[in-house]
Assembly symmetry: C2
Homo-oligomer: 215 residues x 2
DNA sequence: TCACTCATGTAATTGGTTACATGATTCC
DNA sequence: GGAATCATGTAACCAATTACATGAGTGA
């Protein structure tokens, strides 16, 4: 299972379920999501399988924390996963399904509105990632265009970690930019179709020169 | 649930579970996937809810077919879904998770290999979609750049359906192109990092001019 | 006092995958 | 005779979401 391996991956230093959830919200966010109610039992099972070990640690405020760390078997399992084939999930893109079937509706105005909204949320998400990138560039001297990390005061391991984190961020940026572009392309096409001359419902049959001119 | 609505969307003409599975393999494929063992119970439940009706139809070969069609309530429910907000799934991108944690490994050669393989499968998928686009351009006169559909002998409803199908295909193409570009960008950066002068493991502390020159 | 954060969990349900069962017809 | 396709389903399991339960400490 992927969540298991992600949790193992996050264990480069000891952490509790609550800590991990916070890290999910921060860095892991743009490619994975997990609820606390999923994290706690997952950690428990990993411990049963001997891939993690835990100890209780008293907390200054609130109840006792259960802090986990990797075992030897745990890091072996992580490495196996990391060196395996790239795992490409089959994606279920709900909004594409909606768009696909929107052809059944009377006119294109529903589609237009839909695409405008979609563009809005994609652009917002993109802005978030671009802001993170800008922040990083300031803080640790990442060169976006060349994707080079100017290590500065970082140790080699930290520098490598930053590099890998940064490439995943870049993927999000690439991906969202292309989605926004696709929204724009689609909106242009919708508008072109709305203003062009249309065939009547009872069509003349065969090829229609009125449509041929549309673009 | 999304699968329910997708099934409703596929019901513009009566179909059996088996028919629908075939359509999944063909057109719906690049944004959704469902097994027969998921489709059959889903259809059954939709019928119980009064959104579909079914009748047995004798088959020329093999067992009797159960053919479903939409009810009034079914198309109302579909329209509600189509006119609702664009539903953006939280994505769980397994290969990004792998890449993210690959910083823990000794050198970048594992990452390089990983990115090469990833690029390979992305490029293959892209080629498939581009081939479909080329086929459609030949068959029904779609103009890729302008995203205009030259309806030709199509009726208006068919023409609109083709338009909506085509936009979803375009999204796949945009998306995969940007992923391939991202892979290339990342591979360039990996190679630049591999050949650049590196800080020793015991680093000199503070800023390092040898790294500064890397790009 | 009330809301919020810290902190850990269980239970019920939904959505999806994998494995299994059955049997007719058609094509090589 | 054997593999492939047509056709329908059930059962067991795994992954993820939603809802619920509990309780201490902090700050307005």
């Amino acid at each position: 299972m992927s969540l298991d391996h992600i949790l193992l991956g996050m264990m480069h230093e000891p952490a509790s379920g609550y800590d991990l959830k916070r890290e999910f919200e921060q860095s892991v966010r743009h490619f994975w999501f997990a609820e606390l109610s999923q994290i706690y039992p997952a950690l428990k099972k990993l411990e049963e399988r001997g891939l993690l070990s835990s100890r209780p640690v008293p907390s200054s405020r609130g109840p006792e924390r259960r802090v986990f760390e990797t075992t030897g078997a745990g890091s072996e399992e992580l490495e196996r996963w990391l060196t395996s084939e790239p795992l490409i999930p089959k994606d279920r893109i709900t909004y594409l399904a909606q768009l696909f079937f929107m052809g059944e509706m009377e006119d294109l105005s529903a589609t237009e509105q839909f695409m405008e909204r979609l563009r809005g949320s994609m652009a917002t998400r993109l802005a978030v990632l671009e802001a993170i990138e800008a922040e990083w560039m300031g803080a640790i001297g990442i060169d976006g265009a060349a994707l080079a990390v100017d290590g500065g005061a970082l140790t080699e391991i930290e520098d490598d970690r930053v590099f890998h984190m940064y490439t995943t961020l870049r993927m999000g940026i690439h991906s969202l930019r292309s989605r926004v572009e696709w929204c724009d392309e689609t909106l242009r096409a919708i508008r072109a179709r709305q203003t062009r001359p249309r065939a009547s419902t009872e069509d003349e049959g065969g090829s229609n020169p009125a449509i041929e001119t549309a673009r």
